[in-house]
């Protein structure tokens, strides 16, 4: 930052010396009949003073942010600074030339007005640039905050693992320990593998479908232990779709929803059908469950499990049409489309 302001001040100084100094020298020669040597000396010293002044000003303004209402007082202060600078320049010139020069008093007004003009322009530029810099910093901060909020939301949407699932599974394990300890141990293993799979997942890292399916199988095995013969599954994936990529842990809430829907809306056996295929560069996943239209509780929208998935897909893909549901006779189907990049 110091380097930047130094650079700008140097540029300003060079500009003053090379652009204004010749004009001032020419003015002094023409109007006050000065010798060229004295005129150039005068213009040079004036420019150096002004340049140092602007440099100081720039540096100061970099550290103090001027509020809008402080502008008038700053203008007065800066005019005083310009006046002081020019008085300094005059006495320096006088001490160099070692004699009082009569043109000084005649030229003083122009010299000071010019100095005020230059310093004011400096003030305005500095004020404008710091305000703008603050605005961009604020913008960046807002962007970072927004991204963090979005990530947090995605994480919480992802982790909406039903605690009931965990408690009921633990209850099943507790029941198995008494009668079938080997099966209990097996279920603990499955549950651990499943839980491990649900943590440390990053939304930005897509996973291939076969990985997601492995995780899903663990989940289904546990549910089958819980519900016994009432629950069966049928997974039908074509090979091409297995290497297609999707955000992690996307399917589990859908299947969870289907199982809940199927098991609690019907009394008989429930078959959950999971299909996947690749279609026009999109991964299509369909999850079917039986349901009974006549007694199904009136549902708003797509139900909680699916609405959080809807939100997640929106945050990831900025689209709301990737998740749809259809009801046909006794089958409820959830369709998911994942664009493949």
């Amino acid at each position: 930052m110091l380097f930047q302001s130094l650079k700008y001040s140097l540029i300003a100084l060079v500009c003053l010396i090379f652009l204004w100094a010749p004009v001032q020298s020419w003015l002094l020669v023409q109007e006050f009949k000065l010798a060229w040597k004295s005129a150039i000396l005068d213009a040079g010293v004036t420019s150096i003073f002004l340049g140092l002044g602007t440099f100081l000003l720039f540096n100061t303004l970099n550290y103090y942010r001027i509020e809008k209402k402080q502008l008038p007082i700053s203008v007065v202060g800066i005019a005083a600074l310009a006046y002081g600078l020019m008085i300094g320049a005059e006495s320096t010139i006088e001490s160099i030339t070692k004699n009082s020069i009569e043109y000084m008093s005649g030229f003083q007004l122009q010299r000071i007005l010019f100095a005020i003009l230059i310093t004011l322009v400096t003030l305005l530029i500095a004020w404008y640039s710091t305000t703008k810099k603050n605005a961009t910093e604020e913008d960046q901060r807002r962007l970072v905050t927004e991204k963090m909020a979005r990530d947090a939301e995605l994480a919480s949407l992802r982790q909406q693992l039903q605690p009931h699932f965990l408690f009921n599974s633990l209850n099943s394990i507790s029941a198995l320990i008494g009668t079938q300890p080997e099966k209990a141990r097996n279920m603990i293993q499955q549950l651990s593998d499943f839980l491990r799979g649900t943590i440390k997942k990053d939304d930005s890292q897509l996973v291939p479908l076969f990985e997601e399916m492995q995780q899903l199988r663990l989940y289904l095995e546990i549910e089958k232990v819980r519900f016994g013969h009432r629950l069966s599954t049928n997974i039908d994936s074509d090979n091409a779709s297995l290497s297609a990529k999707l955000p992690p842990l996307l399917m589990q809430p859908v299947v969870e929803n289907a199982i809940k829907f199927g098991l609690y809306d019907t009394v008989g056996e429930t078959e959950i059908v999971i299909k996947s295929r690749l279609d026009n560069g999109q991964l299509i996943i369909e999850v079917e469950n039986p349901f009974d239209a006549s007694t199904t509780m009136p549902r708003q929208g797509t139900g909680f499990g699916l609405s959080s998935l809807q939100r997640r897909l929106y945050l990831l893909y900025a689209r709301t049409d990737l998740l749809t549901t259809t009801q046909k006779e006794k089958t409820f189907t959830t369709h998911i489309r994942i664009p493949q990049v």
């Binding site: 408690f167 099943s172 394990i173 029941a175 009668t179 019907t266 009394v267 007694t295 509780m297 009136p298």
Partner: protein, 246 residues
Amino acid sequence: MIKVVIIDDEPLARGLVREYLSSYPEVEICAECGDGFDGLKAIAQYKPFLIFLDIQMPKINGFEMLELVENPPAIIFTTAFDEYAMKAFEFHALDYLLKPFSKERFDKAMKKWINLHKQGRTQLLSPALHETIKQPEERTRIVVREGGNIRIVPVNEIHYMEAYDDYVKIFTGKEMLLKKKTMNFYEQTLDANQFVRVHRSYMIQLNQLTKLEPAEKDMYEAVLKSGARIPLSKSGYAKLKAALGI
């Protein structure tokens, strides 16, 4: 013998209760049921002293099943849901076991029941308290016993209700169903934005209303889409106007 019925949709969960009960030689498990329908049959058939009841079950949940039992026996809930229980239930039901529960916790619940049984009582909760039991979710359906069948009526299909002694007549447009409950119960448990008690004996679903017409004196009647005319009390008329924002 102490007759017990276990109602839970997960076989292993029933197995656990069975195993825990094996240390009580005086207990006889009459039936194990996988849903509320079987549960109702078993309760009617065996008249158990005690039931272990899960809440989330197929078709009708544990609360809905209980509503259909005339004189419910002592109930110990066994569920993984703590949302409703911890707040509203702990004091009303005999006990509330959160899955997974230990043998010690289970024995504590059994001890409660044994003490109660010694005093010759079956229930902790008085009928009045029973009425205030909160439903697990905003009531979206009503379960009615009709002859030997159990009917599940979505509340959206109810046109209006009429008090009838200890019963409430539920009119769905297609038919009339009788449910042993009070108007006060439904006034408390149904969504107040959807159902308005317009009279001591009547409650209507707002979106069934077509117009309000003056009847005799300065009284009004509500006319429903089906053409049914429901008398409005003074306070009912005021309530209805407030609900409609007029």
